[in-house]
C-alpha cells in the first residue's frame, strides 16, 4: 500500500531581507508542522486566515513564494522526498501525482485559452495523450466533474463560466493527471452553500473511486464536518490540534479550535441575543418598496435585475435578504441608497428625521441623503488606497460643512472606538490593515452620519469565519444600542439565520418568499428556498459529524454543551452559545 503524504516537522521562514545579518533574523512562517494524508483519506486542514494553511499546501507543491524558504523538516509523498526533488521531478509531480484546487477558480484559468486547452496540458504532460485521445479524455473528465454538456464547456473561455462551473472545471483539470493526492485550498469559500455541497460531493466521489487522498483547506468547520475523516487545526504556523473529525469537532481541546467552532456556530447565539432584547417589537415601516422593477440590459427578452419587488423594512428590524449571485441583491441595495432609481414602482422612506436628540445620539438624524448607509462586500475596495484612513472617514463629515476639526476628530475617534478599534489605526493606509479591521472601519464610516438604516451587502463574505463572527456581533450590538435597522444581504444561510428577524428570498430578480426567520428555516415555501435550506441542513453550522443530523439546535447542544461544560466551566465562550448546557 502507498504511504500517502507525510509532512514532518516542517519549518518555513521568511527569508531575511538582503544585507541583514545571519539566519537569526529570518521570521518563522511555519514552526514544526506535521500531518499525514493516507491514500483515500479526507483530511481537513482548518484555521483562521494567516494561520499557515496555504503555505503548508504550497510547500507540498514546491510553489512557495520566493521570499519563503523551507528551513527544515521533510515532506514525502509515497516515499518520494518532495523537498529534495529536482525541478523536473517536481514538474512531473505537480498536476501528475498531486492535483490542486484553488480559492478563486476563475482567476486560475488563462483568460485567453479555452477550458479544453487547459485540460490538454496535463493530459499531454502527464499521460502523453494528444489529439483525439486527449479530447475524448477531456470530455470524460468534464463529465465526471458534473458537466452535462462537456463539449460546450471544453470550448468555453473562463469568463463564460460561473464560479461554481469554474471550480468544477478546475477539478477536471486537477484530476487529469490521475493524481494520488488532491490539495484543495479553500475551493468553495467564494461559493454559496448549494455549489459548495456540489463540489464537495464531487471531490468525495473522486476520493472513493480512485483512492484519492484529499487535503482540504478551509476556515469553515461547517464545510468539512460531513466529509472529513480527520481534522487538523492550525494557528500561528503550528498544528494546534489533530484527530478524527468527530473528536476534534466534538471535543475541541485548544482555544483556537473552539474559536473556529464558535465562529461557525452562529445559530445558537442568535437565539440568545433575541432573548436578551425582548423589547424589539418592530413597529412601523421605515423603508417600503412597492412594485419596484429595475432593468439594466436593454435588449428585448433581457431579464430585469429586479422585477415587481414589494418589500418593507420595519423600524428596529433586521431584515435578511437571501439570494445567489445574480439574484438582484446588490441592485436592491443600490436602489435603497438611492444610487439607482427604479424603472417602475416606488420606494418610500419614512425615516425618523430629527429624533436623534431624543436617542441621545448627539448629532441629529435626517441629514438628507444620509439616513440609509451601505457597507460593501470588499473592504479593501471601499477605501481610497492613497488616503490615510482618517481622511477617508472625515470626508463624509466635511461634506456636511458643520462642526470644527476637533469636533470631527472626536466624533471619528468615538465611532472607531464604537467598532472596537484603536483610533491609532486611523494613521495608517488601507493596505496596512486587515480585512476585518477595514470592514469595521467601513461600518464606523457609515455610522458617523448616524443613519437610521444600515444595509450590509455581503458585508462579511470576504472575511474568515472568526472575523465574520466578530463583525456580526458588532452589528448586533449596534442594532441593540442604537436602534439601528439593518438589512443583511447575503448568500450565506448561517449569517442570515444568525442575524435576521425576517428573511426575504430573491431569485432571478423576483421576491419569492418573505417570512419570519424560524418559520422560514423550519418550513420554506418556494422551491428555491427549499433548496437553499436543504443545502444548509446538509452542512449545519454546528454538527459533530459524519452523522447526518436533522435537529440543529439539539445537535449543537449535544456537541458543544456536553463536552465543554465539564472541562472549562465559566471560562469558555462556548457556554454562551448554548443556553443551558448539560452538566
Amino acid at each position: 500500500m502507498r504511504e500517502g503524504l507525510i509532512i514532518e516537522d516542517l519549518h518555513l521562514s521568511l527569508r531575511a531581507p538582503a544585507g541583514g545579518s545571519s539566519g537569526s533574523s529570518a521570521r518563522p512562517v511555519l514552526s514544526g508542522v506535521g500531518l499525514t494524508v493516507a491514500p483515500g483519506e479526507f483530511v481537513a486542514l482548518v484555521g483562521a486566515s494567516g494561520s499557515g494553511k496555504t503555505m503548508t499546501a504550497l510547500s507540498v507543491l514546491g510553489l512557495l513564494p520566493p521570499q519563503i524558504q523551507a528551513a527544515s523538516g521533510s515532506i514525502t509523498l509515497g516515499g518520494t522526498d518532495l523537498l529534495a526533488a529536482s525541478g523536473a521531478e517536481l514538474n512531473r509531480l505537480r498536476g501528475g501525482r498531486i492535483g490542486m484546487l484553488y480559492q478563486q477558480p476563475k482567476r486560475m484559468f488563462n483568460p485567453r485559452m479555452t477550458i479544453g486547452s487547459h485540460l490538454a496540458e496535463p493530459l499531454k504532460l502527464h499521460r502523453g495523450l494528444r489529439g483525439r485521445q486527449a479530447r475524448a479524455q477531456a470530455l470524460e473528465l468534464l463529465t465526471n466533474a458534473g458537466f452535462e454538456d462537456p463539449e460546450r464547456v471544453a470550448r468555453a473561455y473562463p469568463h463564460q463560466l460561473s464560479g461554481g462551473m469554474a471550480q468544477r472545471a478546475m477539478l477536471a483539470v486537477a484530476m487529469a493527471g490521475q493524481p494520488e493526492l488532491l490539495l484543495a485550498d479553500e475551493p468553495t469559500s467564494a461559493l454559496d452553500k448549494v455549489l459548495e455541497r456540489q463540489i464537495l460531493e464531487l471531490i468525495d466521489t473522486q476520493r472513493r473511486q480512485h483512492g484519492l487522498g484529499v487535503l482540504y483547506i478551509t476556515h469553515d468547520l461547517a464545510t468539512v464536518s460531513a466529509f472529513a475523516d480527520r481534522v487538523v487545526v492550525m494557528d500561528a504556523g503550528r498544528v494546534q490540534e489533530e484527530g478524527p473529525a468527530r473528536a476534534v469537532l466534538g471535543a475541541p481541546q485548544t482555544a483556537c479550535a473552539r474559536e473556529l467552532l464558535e465562529a461557525c456556530a452562529l445559530t445558537r447565539r442568535r437565539i440568545v441575543v433575541a432573548g436578551e432584547a425582548p423589547g424589539l417589537a418592530p413597529s412601523r415601516d421605515i423603508l417600503a418598496l412597492d412594485g419596484v422593477t429595475k432593468r439594466f440590459a436593454k435588449g428585448r427578452g433581457a431579464r430585469p435585475a429586479l422585477e415587481d419587488v414589494s418589500l418593507s423594512l420595519r423600524e428596529g428590524e433586521i431584515l435578511g435578504v437571501l439570494g445567489q449571485s445574480g439574484s438582484g441583491k446588490s441592485t436592491l441595495a443600490r436602489l435603497l441608497v438611492d444610487v439607482e432609481a427604479p424603472d417602475r414602482g416606488s420606494i418610500t422612506r419614512t425615516l425618523p428625521a430629527g429624533d436623534g436628540k431624543d436617542d441621545g445620539g448627539g448629532a441629529s438624524r435626517g441629514v438628507p441623503g444620509t439616513e440609509v448607509q451601505l457597507v460593501f462586500q470588499e473592504p479593501h475596495d471601499a477605501f481610497d488606497p492613497r488616503m490615510k484612513l482618517f481622511a477617508s472617514l472625515e470626508a463624509p463629515l466635511l461634506r456636511q460643512r458643520t462642526g470644527t476639526a476637533d469636533g470631527r476628530r472626536e466624533r471619528i475617534h468615538q465611532a472607531v472606538r464604537d467598532v472596537e478599534l484603536d483610533p491609532d489605526l486611523l494613521d495608517r493606509y488601507p493596505s496596512q490593515c486587515s480585512g476585518g479591521q477595514l470592514q469595521r472601519l467601513t461600518i464606523a464610516r457609515a455610522l458617523l452620519l448616524d443613519p437610521a438604516v444600515l444595509i450590509c451587502d455581503e458585508a462579511t463574505s470576504a472575511l474568515d469565519a472568526v472575523t465574520q463572527r466578530k463583525v456580526l456581533d458588532l452589528l448586533l450590538r449596534l442594532h441593540r444600542d442604537r436602534r439601528l435597522s439593518l438589512i443583511m444581504i447575503s448568500h450565506d444561510m448561517n449569517v442570515i439565520r444568525y442575524m435576521s428577524h425576517r428573511v426575504a428570498v430573491l431569485y432571478q430578480g423576483a421576491l419569492v418568499e418573505l417570512a419570519g426567520t424560524s418559520e422560514f428555516f423550519a418550513n420554506p415555501q418556494h422551491g428555491h428556498s427549499k433548496e437553499l435550506v436543504a443545502a444548509a441542513r446538509a452542512h449545519p453550522a454546528v454538527c459533530s459529524a459524519p452523522v447526518a443530523c436533522g435537529d440543529l439546535a439539539a445537535c449543537a447542544h449535544r456537541v458543544l454543551g456536553a463536552n465543554v461544560a465539564g472541562s472549562r466551566p465559566g471560562t469558555s465562550r462556548l457556554l454562551e452559545l448554548v443556553s443551558a448546557p448539560d452538566a
Binding site: 484553488y102 484559468f109 504532460l125
Partner: protein, 313 residues
C-alpha cells in the same frame, strides 16, 4: 463580430468626415485671404491687383457658398482627385502617393525595430525583475523616452555621417540611408514599448493562472512561453497602433532633417508655400490612415482577447 465591425466602420467614417471638414476649413479660418497669399507668393512687389484676386478666386471656385465648396472638394477627394498643387501645378495625388509610400516604409521599419528591441528588452527586464539587468533597462528606456528627435538626429549625423563617414547624412536612396532616420524615430517608441512590455509581462507573470499552470506541472520555461509572453505582449498591439498613427504625422522633423521625400516633408512644404491643396491632401490622408490604424488596433485587440471578442459577438 459582424455588428462590431459595422459599428466600428461607421464610427471610422464619421471621424474621417469630421476631420476632413476641419481640414477643409483651415485656410478659411486662418488670418489672411488665401487668394492674396497665393498671389503674393508668386508676384514680386507689394501691390496686388484686385482684378487679379477676383479672377483667381473665380478660377479656383472660391466665390461659391462654403458648403458647395466643401461638397465639391469632398466629391473630388472621394474620387481620388485632390486638386492641383498651387506651386507645382501638378495633381496633388501624384505627389501624395509616392510620399505616402516613403513615409509608410519609414514608419513600418521604425515600428518593427522598436517592437523587436522592446520585446527582447522588456521580456528580459521582467524576467529579471529587481536585478541589475532590469534596473539598467528601465533606466535607459526612461532616459531615451525624453530625448527629443531634433537633438538626437543632428548628434547621430555628426557621429556616423560626418565623423565616421559610415552612413549617409541625408536622402532616401538605398538601405543605408534609412538607418539613421529609423534609429532616431525608433528610439522613443522603443523606450515606450519596452516599459509597456515589461509592465505587461510583470502583470502576466503575477497572474494567478500562471501559478496554476505551474501547479499543473508545466515547466517554468513552458509556462512563460505559453501563458506569460502571449498575455504580456497583448498591450503592445494597441500601443503600436497608436504610435503608428502618431509617427505618420510625427515624422515631419526627421523627414525634414534627413531630407526624406515623405508625407511629413510634403506637408511641411505645403504649409510653408501656402499650397493649400497640397497641405489639405497630405493632412486628410494622414488623418484617414491614423483613424484606420486605431480602428485596426481595436479589432486586433478584440481578436486576441476572447472576452472583448465575445462581448461584441
Amino acid at each position: 463580430m459582424m455588428l462590431f465591425l459595422a459599428r466600428r466602420t461607421a464610427a471610422l467614417l464619421v471621424a474621417v468626415l469630421l476631420a476632413s471638414f476641419v481640414v477643409f476649413l483651415i485656410p478659411y479660418v486662418t488670418p489672411g485671404d488665401p487668394v492674396r497669399k497665393i498671389i503674393r507668393s508668386r508676384v514680386a512687389g507689394d501691390a496686388i491687383d484686385d482684378s487679379a484676386v477676383q479672377a483667381l478666386s473665380a478660377q479656383l471656385g472660391l466665390q461659391d457658398p462654403l458648403w458647395t465648396q466643401y461638397l465639391r472638394w469632398l466629391g473630388r477627394f472621394a474620387s481620388g482627385d485632390m486638386g492641383l498643387s498651387y506651386t507645382s501645378r501638378t495633381p496633388v495625388v501624384d505627389q501624395v502617393l509616392p510620399a505616402l509610400w516613403v513615409t509608410l516604409s519609414l514608419v513600418v521599419m521604425t515600428l518593427a525595430v522598436a517592437a523587436l528591441i522592446a520585446v527582447i528588452l522588456g521580456i528580459a527586464a521582467a524576467l529579471n525583475e529587481g536585478r541589475a539587468a532590469d534596473k539598467a533597462i528601465t533606466a535607459v528606456s526612461q532616459a531615451f523616452i525624453a530625448m527629443p528627435e531634433y537633438w538626437l538626429a543632428p548628434m547621430l549625423v555628426l557621429v556616423f555621417a560626418l565623423e565616421l563617414s559610415v552612413l549617409p547624412s541625408a536622402g532616401w536612396e538605398g538601405p543605408t540611408s534609412a538607418v539613421l532616420p529609423v534609429a532616431v524615430l525608433a528610439l522613443r517608441p522603443a523606450s515606450h514599448f519596452t516599459s509597456a512590455v515589461r509592465e505587461g509581462m510583470l502583470d502576466a507573470l503575477g497572474a494567478d493562472h500562471v501559478t496554476a499552470a505551474r501547479g499543473r506541472g508545466l515547466s517554468y520555461f513552458h509556462t512563460v512561453r505559453k501563458h506569460v509572453i502571449p498575455n504580456g505582449l497583448l498591450p503592445l498591439t494597441t500601443l503600436a497602433a497608436v504610435w503608428f498613427a502618431g509617427l505618420l504625422g510625427g515624422s515631419v522633423i526627421v523627414e525634414v532633417i534627413f531630407a526624406i521625400p515623405g508625407m511629413g516633408r510634403l506637408l511641411f512644404d505645403g504649409v510653408l508655400n501656402s499650397d493649400i491643396p497640397l497641405a489639405q491632401g497630405a493632412v486628410v490622408v494622414v488623418v484617414g490612415l491614423a483613424v484606420l490604424l486605431t480602428t485596426a488596433a481595436d479589432l486586433v485587440h478584440g481578436l486576441l482577447n476572447p472576452q472583448v471578442r465575445m462581448r461584441h459577438a
